[in-house]
């Protein structure tokens, strides 16, 4: 394998890993605050649809992005109401949100565009275009570093850089601010946070809304940057892979980057090579597709380190018993 092939694979790793990274950080905020979220998939799908649809109608990708994030926030608010205010089962609420998104996107898409759930293809300002970083063209001829800078680091859409910047930002927010400390505490021991006179409900809603914002970006990236328009069921299980990556990363932001890029790499390899021949043993493409899930089960089983979720995860907080 030469450098250019390697760079191409790594380049698509970044592209495919970005929505996973955004969704994984989204899940991280929610789950660190004690709200399980298996509705990442649905929120991404909803955001992908609304960003694609609004961008197609208005021709402006920024309006599309706004609409996508808003739609994702609405679903987050439903999840918050169900799991925080009404103390319902968070897993069931997540399942419902996934179905709601999967049905509504096609229903509204068909009503608006009559294209069988698809949105019209996006062109020009309807999409996020690649950004060429400074000096990328000039440095291109420099051996090794030039192509890496030109192919791999430069030339992505703004949302990719936002996603990568979100990693240190999340780390800082969670581990270096008062809000972050409280947010983590509310996922471990909400009663202690409550005793300190801080609102558990408000903190958890804040976390769920941050989650909605980030899944909104992830969905918008799918429809307006990775592809040009929305296609029915376009998230294709990415919300669940992000969930898997979150466990893989043991609910920490920096390892989340590693986990999502690893899963992005697996997807990139599976897209590029059908079957992989490892000197006699042939790995079928289906195995590569299943690998993120298999790795997650192995991690969950605790054979490679222990993945311990936030202690109060999944439980509604009742002030007085």
């Amino acid at each position: 394998m030469d450098l250019s092939t390697l760079l191409q694979i790594l380049d698509s790793t970044v592209r495919l890993g970005t929505p996973l990274l955004l969704a994984c950080l989204a899940g991280l905020f929610s789950e660190r605050a004690g709200i399980f979220d298996i509705g990442l998939e649905g929120k991404m799908l909803m955001a992908a649809f609304f960003s694609g649809a609004v961008a197609a109608i208005t021709g402006s990708v920024l309006l599309g992005l706004t609409a996508g994030v808003l739609s994702s926030l609405v679903l987050s608010a439903i999840h918050g109401a169900a799991s925080i205010t009404f103390r319902g089962n968070q897993l069931i609420s997540g399942v419902a949100i996934n179905f709601l998104a999967s049905g509504l996107t096609v229903l509204i898409g068909q009503k608006w565009f009559q294209l069988g759930g698809r949105t019209p293809p996006l062109t020009g300002d309807g999409r996020f275009s690649p950004i060429t970083l400074p000096f990328a063209e000039t440095l291109r001829e420099v051996p090794v570093i030039g192509p890496i800078y030109y192919e791999l680091i430069s030339g992505h859409s703004i949302l990719v850089y936002v996603a990568f910047a979100a990693v240190p930002l999340s780390w800082w927010l969670l581990y270096r601010t008062r809000f972050g400390l409280r947010l983590r505490a509310v996922g471990e021991n909400p009663a202690a946070v409550d005793t300190a006179g801080i609102s558990v409900v408000r903190l958890r809603y804040a976390a769920v809304m941050i989650c909605g914002l980030l899944t909104g970006l992830a969905g918008a990236y799918l429809a307006t940057a990775l592809s040009a328009g929305f296609v029915k069921e376009m998230t294709a299980g990415r919300g669940y892979i992000a969930l898997a990556a979150l466990i893989f990363a043991k609910w920490r932001p920096v390892p989340a980057l590693g986990a999502t890029m690893l899963f992005g790499l697996l997807e990139a390899i599976a897209n590029r090579y059908q079957n992989i021949d490892l000197g006699g043993v042939v790995l079928p493409v289906q195995f590569m597709q299943a690998l993120p899930y298999i790795l997650t089960v192995v991690i969950l089983a605790g054979f490679i380190g222990k993945a311990t979720p936030p202690r109060a995860g999944g439980e509604a907080y009742v002030k007085e018993r």
Binding site: L91, A96, I97, L107, Q110, K111, Q286, A290
Partner: protein, 362 residues
């Protein structure tokens, strides 16, 4: 704890939840520019107005009974089995391997063997998450979700690389032999001398589903194991104190659950398609969640809820045929039913409880 009479808990609350879910569905239909009342009429006449409609309604309902019972029995043990989809996929693999292995002389033998195969494969697919939950404390919701995807990949591999007949481009198994063809309800009605449900897929597995309802009811409320499952589901520490082994109950509950989900394959794979195709389950595993929630995890409730969803599925198909409403409306209704009967249950329950408490109705 209960401030409500039993009838309100069992019937009134689910009914109110359902009414809200359907009212919002009606608003959705209005929003996309169709008339909800007309839509309902089309659904009722299309799904229940003829024996043709009933033939499809019962066919869908049969699948949902199996997956609904699967979710219900796991729920009694306090486990959320979201992996019905994968377990039913593997059940299909079991059915196909058995149907294709022998030139079956009679359908009854084939059905017996295929049922065992379906249940065994489904149970095996539930066994790993169950074991990991029981022994290693891995969250069963996440592991069963992962196993859905792994199951889909496994089926894809088996169909494309192993079971696909030579020369065929279609990722599907060969057709099952003649002897493995299950009698449809239409055939059975014809045997009794009248015409019912011509060209519909409802088949003898409907009766197996009914038997399973009875069996699950007896298991949960009339056996020692059922008592232990319920005790474990209500309070794990209390169950452990009473000498009930968490590992044993988790394994049993999930094996039965996976087996029931796997059994669905005798309906869709053996009874309808008569070969194994990609994505044969078509989301029925997830509908089991809605069915179990609505049926309050009681086999009779599961049966009623499965019939309702069978009606929605067939009615939704008719809607897509005669109006501009796409089939995905059913997904939205399903989502709303799960949301209101499951996650937002307290939104309805709390005010109703207060009402009963104030009135002092007993």
């Amino acid at each position: 704890m209960t401030r409500m009479p039993r009838w309100a808990d069992v019937a009134l609350i689910p009914l109110l939840n359902l009414v809200i879910a359907f009212a919002i569905s009606a608003l959705v239909i209005l929003a996309i520019g169709e008339n909800p009342w007309e839509a309902l009429k089309i659904m009722v006449s299309g799904a229940l107005g003829s024996s043709y409609g009933w033939g499809f309604t019962l066919y869908y309902a049969t699948s949902f009974v199996f997956t609904g019972l699967a979710v219900a029995i796991a729920s009694h043990a306090g486990l959320f089995n979201i992996g019905g989809e994968g377990q039913a996929t593997l059940g299909g693999l079991g059915v196909a391997l058995i149907c294709l292995s022998l030139p079956w002389p009679h359908w009854s033998l084939a059905l017996l063997a295929a049922s065992l195969g379906a249940a065994a494969f489904g149970a095996a697919w539930a066994a790993i998450p169950a074991w990991l939950q029981a022994k290693r404390g891995s969250h069963i919701v996440i592991t069963t979700i992962m196993f859905n995807f792994i199951g889909a990949s496994l089926l894809n591999y088996m169909l494309v690389n192993v079971m696909r007949p030579v020369g065929s481009m279609d990722p599907a198994s060969a057709r099952f032999p003649e002897g493995a063809t299950l009698p449809t309800l239409n055939d059975m009605a014809a045997g009794l001398g009248f015409v019912w449900g011509k060209n519909t897929p409802a088949n003898v597995s409907f009766f197996i589903a009914l038997l399973c309802c009875l069996g699950v009811w007896a298991l949960i409320w009339k056996t020692r194991l059922g008592y232990q499952i319920r005790a474990f589901g209500k309070s794990e520490p209390a169950a452990v104190y009473a000498g009930i082994s968490p590992v044993r109950i988790t394994m049993y509950a999930m094996l039965i659950s996976g087996g029931l989900a796997g059994l669905m394959a005798i309906n869709n794979v053996m009874g309808e398609a008569e070969r194994l195709v990609l994505n044969a389950v078509e989301g029925a595993g997830f509908i089991g969640i809605a069915v179990a929630l609505m049926g309050r995890n009681h086999p009779f409730g599961v049966l009623l809820a499965a019939l309702l969803f069978g009606f929605l599925y067939q009615g939704g198909g008719e809607l897509a045929l005669w109006t501009t409403i796409p089939r995905e409306l059913i997904t939205v209704i399903q989502a709303l039913v799960i949301l209101f009967t499951g996650a937002l249950d307290n939104m309805v329950r709390a005010p109703v409880e207060r009402l009963f408490a104030r009135r002092g109705i007993r």
